[in-house]
């Protein structure tokens, strides 16, 4: 692993807003009416870099930039006997600055779905290759954060190309390269780089290591569920309060379900992959009316079994990175930590397995 370095904050800011923005689409977190969202860097006011790296986690995970809510597949034009169809899948050279380690880890998990199986989604893979992830170590985690419990370290550069450590008291901005792509990107900016002595590097790590994350301790280290949990009574009980909205899935960095939806305006049309949610009642409803998951019980069970059991069986991983968004935002508190806690009690009571 390469050493920790420092660069001049203003110099980096100028480069990113200038030359880098000409070569890449640069996305950074901004605060819009209290909601942190990623926006394309166009005409930033000076000081934006410092603001961006000091923001808390975004409402929508950074990794959703690679799987946008409406993602064109193809365009068509003409009538039924003379359609002209063109490929509309696009990928651009992308820089995402301000990625939290949880969201970066989520991309590693999504790689297993989109890039690691026999049917590779080339569009995703291409985007992934063309994206430079600039992470930011978590200076001030939210009370709802529990990434440590899910095996993510809030300062680790492992899942990013470059990592920023926005720690106070250093001369300049501390950075670490963690991939060849990151190295090349950094070199392309021709910044004045100062290498930090090993002990400062250790101090930085110690600083981040010491930042408490109380919820992680509460969550512990969950293990995967077995298929036996499918029949537990808990699903009927906890799902009673679900609103059947798609908030949890749309905010979840590891949720990726989509629908393929056509839209035509006159003779022209667009087919796109659009986010969809297993919490919506019609998610699995078929044209004939049959719905294998007709009530909230089956749908809530699907969400948690998918994350805790099915993905583990298929990809060897629990699909949760502990970002805490569902904990913070679910309108009825039907979130990962609460469900996990209730599952543990139920399994302990019933002499069940795991977790």
């Amino acid at each position: 692993m390469s050493a920790t370095i420092t660069v001049d904050l203003e110099e980096l800011e100028t480069q990113l807003a200038g030359d880098v923005s000409r070569r890449f689409d640069v996305y950074v977190p901004v605060d819009e009416n209290g909601a942190v969202v990623f926006r394309r860097l166009t005409t930033p006011a000076s000081g934006w870099l410092k603001r961006s790296v000091s923001l808390t986690r975004s409402v929508l995970p950074a990794n959703k930039l690679l799987t946008p809510q409406t993602d064109p597949v193809l365009r068509f034009q003409g009538g039924p006997t003379d359609y002209e169809v063109s490929d509309a899948a696009a990928s651009t050279d992308l820089v995402i600055l301000g990625v939290k380690p949880c969201d970066a880890r989520a991309l590693k998990l999504l790689d297993k779905v989109f890039a690691d199986e026999s049917d590779i989604d080339q569009v995703y893979v291409e985007r992934r290759q063309k994206t430079v992830l600039i992470g930011v170590a978590c200076e001030k985690p939210e009370p709802t954060c529990f990434c440590k419990a899910m095996g993510v370290s809030p300062w680790s550069s492992d899942d990013c190309d470059l990592m920023i450590y926005p720690m106070q008291g250093l001369e300049g901005l501390a950075l670490k390269c963690s991939s060849d792509k990151g190295q090349a990107f950094l070199a392309g900016m021709h910044l004045t780089i100062r290498e930090l002595p090993a002990e400062t590097s250790e101090e930085i790590e110690a600083h981040y290591r010491a930042i408490p994350q109380p919820l992680s301790e509460f969550v512990g280290h969950p293990e995967a569920l077995s298929l036996d949990s499918f029949e537990l009574p808990i699903w009927g009980r906890i799902s009673e309060r679900c609103l059947s909205c798609g908030l949890c899935t749309y905010l979840c960095p590891t949720c990726y379900c989509f629908a393929v939806v056509d839209k035509s305006l006159g003779e022209r049309g667009l087919r796109a992959r659009c986010w969809d949610s297993c919490m919506f009642p019609d998610f699995l409803k078929m044209a004939g009316g049959h719905n294998p998951r007709p009530t909230k019980k089956e749908r809530v069970r699907q969400r948690f079994m998918h994350k805790l059991c099915y993905t583990h069986e298929r990809y060897g991983q629990i699909f949760c990175v502990g970002c805490g968004r569902c904990v913070e935002k679910c309108p009825v508190g039907l979130h990962f930590v609460d469900v996990l806690s209730q599952l543990r009690r139920e399994l302990a009571g019933g002499g069940g397995d795991g977790l």
């Binding site: 193809l74 298929l227 989509f258 998610f283 294998p292």
Partner: protein, 280 residues
């Protein structure tokens, strides 16, 4: 534009060559489209009407016939938006097709066995691909006698009449048993539901593979009948149908437990199905 040109959801555009009405009421049509690709019986393709959407349809032509005639056949029942739009189309119209998707019927594993096909209504569509393939390769795979049990609501609802009443009964060592839920003045054949009919025919389970496809309630009762007749779970093959969007195991729609119907299915043995959560 995708530089690699490997957009997995991009269909190729095919022209409809012929449209055949399968049933008297006109709710099932077979579409013959120009062009083909390599596939095996049981596999599906994503068929799309531009501006309306896509749906997963099993390929009903046999791979042998497709390869010879450079065409694909899809038998489509009108049930939803996309299939309704498809039914509006005529020869010369263009549709999108991508595939093939999913696994196939494990016909290579049935050497020396008797084959029992049990179909209901439009459920004969995927079986038809397989039946024609098995008949064509009967000697190669040393299959035993072939029995086909097929039923529909009424005589007018029976699909693929040329084959069930013409071609198949004439094939060597092949028997076709037809039944309808309700007969009419011209119907001389059996009247009754498919599962009961199977019970009456009472095929012997020894050295036999049963392959069934039809409406969910029929499949459920047929499985029950086969169990009573002494068929083991691994002797029974069926297909699952779930809403699908991508066909490549990415969209997260058609999972049953950790399996994706579009990729790991649609063909499952009863033994495999029993390993999955009952949510289909």
């Amino acid at each position: 534009m995708s530089e690699t040109g490997k957009n997995p959801l991009l269909p190729s555009v095919h022209t409809i060559r012929e449209v055949r009405d399968e049933t008297d009421v006109g709710d099932v049509k077979t579409f013959v489209v120009d062009g083909s690709f390599d596939y095996l019986p049981g596999q599906c393709a994503m068929v799309s009407v531009f501006g309306v959407g896509e749906c997963m349809i099993s390929i009903t032509s046999s791979p042998d016939a497709s390869a010879r005639g450079r065409y694909l056949e899809f038998a489509v029942k009108k049930v939803g938006l996309v299939t309704e739009a498809l039914h509006e189309l005529e020869p010369g119209c263009k549709i999108g097709i991508r595939g093939p998707y999913g696994n196939h019927f494990p016909f290579e594993q049935w050497a020396g066995k008797k084959l029992l096909f049990i179909g209901g209504g439009i459920g004969l569509a995927p079986l038809r691909s397989l039946i024609n393939h098995c008949i064509a390769h009967k000697e190669e795979y040393r299959y035993g006698p072939i029995e086909i049990v097929y039923g529909a609501r009424s005589p007018g609802d029976l699909c693929f009449k040329d084959e069930i009443m013409g071609h198949w009964p004439k094939c060597e060592d092949t028997t076709v048993h037809l039944t309808v839920d309700r007969g009419d003045e011209n119907w001389k054949g059996h009247v009754g539901f498919v599962p009961q009919f199977v019970e009456e025919i009472a095929p012997s389970p020894s050295d036999c593979v049963a392959i069934t496809c039809g409406p969910p309630i029929m499949i459920k009762l047929v499985l029950e009948t086969l169990r009573k007749l002494g068929f083991e779970d691994d002797q029974v093959i069926t297909t699952l149908e779930l809403k699908m969007q991508c066909g490549i195991g990415k969209c997260g729609r058609c999972n049953v437990g950790s399996k994706y119907v579009c990729k790991d299915g649609p063909v499952f043995s009863l033994a495999q199905l029993k390993q999955l959560p009952a949510e289909f």
